[in-house]
């Protein structure tokens, strides 16, 4: 391998769990940046620099796992890339080395490769934690999960959509007005809103508020009904009636 080793340190909440996903060869095969092909079990990577210069090669992916980390050798027809990941107390340390032609095109891409793989493993670790959480979470926590909301939406119909000038503190009274026109007609109602100040998601079951999620400027309020009073601005509100009687079916 060449002398120049690229090293990246990414802080993650659960380094050991993240490393476990990095040991999954399919993660590297599906999530490595610059992937432009799959043929005969090999991956085709096409690196680009400044959108003018390219280097493409076909690689075998060979994994070697040890107690303290995992090593991937991407053995190409004209080049080799070695990736190593190790866990520390609060982060994953990834290193990459390249040996082959056009190193000036490939090497600048390697930190993106390491970052992307670590972040993908982190995402999968988060999803695994979420999946456990989803089974035990209350509805407010579930509203924070894109996966759960998307499953709910796929079993719902959009029954009302409007743009509302929402004053600060006006969201609760807006929702109260929904009661007459919508909440009595559907056992499960999901309401979402988006304005420049943020987003909210509300869930009603049998007309009663069962879960709240508010995101204001990136700050999440899960189950904090007071946060509804902070929401304001011209808001695209959407009201959905669910066709499900039992949300456990999601």
């Amino acid at each position: 391998m060449g002398n120049k080793v690229v090293s990246v340190n990414v802080r993650v909440p659960k380094p050991d769990l993240t490393l476990r996903y990095l040991r999954d060869e399919s993660l590297v095969r599906s999530s490595i940046p610059y992937l432009v092909g799959v043929v005969g079990g090999k991956v085709v990577l096409r690196f680009t620099r400044a959108f003018l210069f390219h280097f493409k090669d076909v690689y075998d992916v060979l994994m070697k796992s040890s107690n303290d980390g995992v090593n991937y050798l991407l053995a190409g027809e004209r080049s080799n890339i070695e990736l190593t990941f190790k866990a520390s107390a609060d982060s994953i340390v990834g290193t990459a080395a390249y040996d082959g032609p056009r190193a000036w095109v490939v090497r600048p891409c390697l930190s993106k490769v390491i970052n992307a793989l670590i972040n993908e493993a982190r995402t999968r670790a988060d999803e695994a934690v979420e999946a456990v959480r989803e089974s035990t979470a209350d509805y407010s926590e579930k509203l924070a999960l894109v996966s759960w909301v998307s499953k709910l939406l796929m079993r719902s119909i959009l029954i009302k959509s409007e743009i509302v000038a929402m004053p600060k503190g006006g969201l609760v009274s807006y929702v109260e007005k929904l009661a007459d026109e919508v909440l009595r007609k559907y056992r499960v109602v999901y309401v979402s809103g988006a304005s420049d100040s943020g987003t909210f998601r509300l869930l009603f079951i049998n007309g009663a508020l069962a879960g709240t999620y508010v995101n204001l400027g990136g700050k999440e309020y899960v189950g904090d009904e007071k946060a509804l009073n902070l929401f304001e601005g011209f808001t695209q509100v959407r009201v959905y009636g669910s066709m499900l009687d039992n949300l456990n079916a999601l």
Binding site: S30, G37, V149, L158, R238
Partner: protein, 252 residues
């Protein structure tokens, strides 16, 4: 194991404008006809092209979020009405709240059947096409009627000269093989031929499309299924279509 490509790839870029492929999810029932979704960004605004069905949505959403705030996605362009094009409409409306749907006027009445009974923001594209402003770019919906849907459009991006060709250029990959860019055109043509002979209605529709498309300055053709044509393969693909016989109802 079904193929998954989680990371997007920038197909063309110029200044603050980019044409981005959004990854891949394979379902067994697709039988090798994998779907491509794309995002065009210009000056901080975005448009989604054929965003696909439910099972690809989370990956599309996540990859779009890598490049742009979902609120800045101003439009979604639908070539036609098939479920692998419009299936995620309800999710799209909720997670990209500012996106306006562009679709042929023929198909607007079908959209409520996806669960959108109210509040659908739609621009009905007239038969002759329209222009769509995203950021400072003026994209063009190009008629591709009957290819394969009676109300069908392609989208031309004049900034990076990419034609999003919908079902034209679709290819069926053999199991375990996939590539983003066409390299060996002759080999790739064999993967395209069965689809084009069966799904396209007749040569007349194809010829009308070819006449239109030849007036465009094209560097890249990006289809909804199959692989992307660049460089000399753009010309080869158009020439291949010119010579394609035995199309659809012509064979009856």
């Amino acid at each position: 194991m079904p193929l998954k490509v989680r990371k997007p790839y920038v197909i063309a870029e110029e200044g603050n404008h980019a044409f981005i492929w959004l990854g891949l999810d394979e379902a067994e029932a697709e039988k090798g006809i994998l779907t491509n979704q794309y995002l065009i960004i210009d000056s901080g605004e975005g448009i989604l092209l054929d965003p696909g069905g439910r099972f690809v949505f989370e990956r599309v959403y996540r990859n779009v979020s890598e490049y742009i705030n979902p609120w800045k996605v101003k439009a979604a362009f639908f070539t036609h009405q098939d479920p692998d094009v419009v299936g995620s409409l309800l999710l799209l409306m909720d997670f990209f709240p500012n996106a306006v749907a562009y679709i042929s006027s023929l198909w607007v009445r079908f959209l409520p059947h996806l669960g959108a009974l109210a509040g659908l923001k739609v621009v009905e594209i007239p038969d002759e096409g329209t222009s769509i402003k995203v950021g400072n770019a003026e994209l063009r919906a190009i008629p591709a009627h009957f290819l394969h849907s009676p109300g069908n459009f392609n989208l031309y991006d004049p900034v990076v000269k990419v034609l999003f060709s919908g079902d034209l250029g679709a290819a069926v990959f053999p199991e375990g093989t996939w590539y983003l860019f066409v390299e060996d055109f002759e080999a790739h043509a064999k993967l395209m031929e069965p689809f084009h002979r069966r799904y396209l209605p007749c040569r007349k529709a194809l010829e009308a499309w070819l006449r239109r498309v030849k007036q465009l300055d094209i560097n890249v053709i990006a289809p909804q299924h199959g692989a992307v044509f660049t460089g000399g393969n753009v010309r080869r693909f158009l020439k291949w279509l010119e010579g394609l016989e035995g199309v659809g109802a012509d064979t009856l």
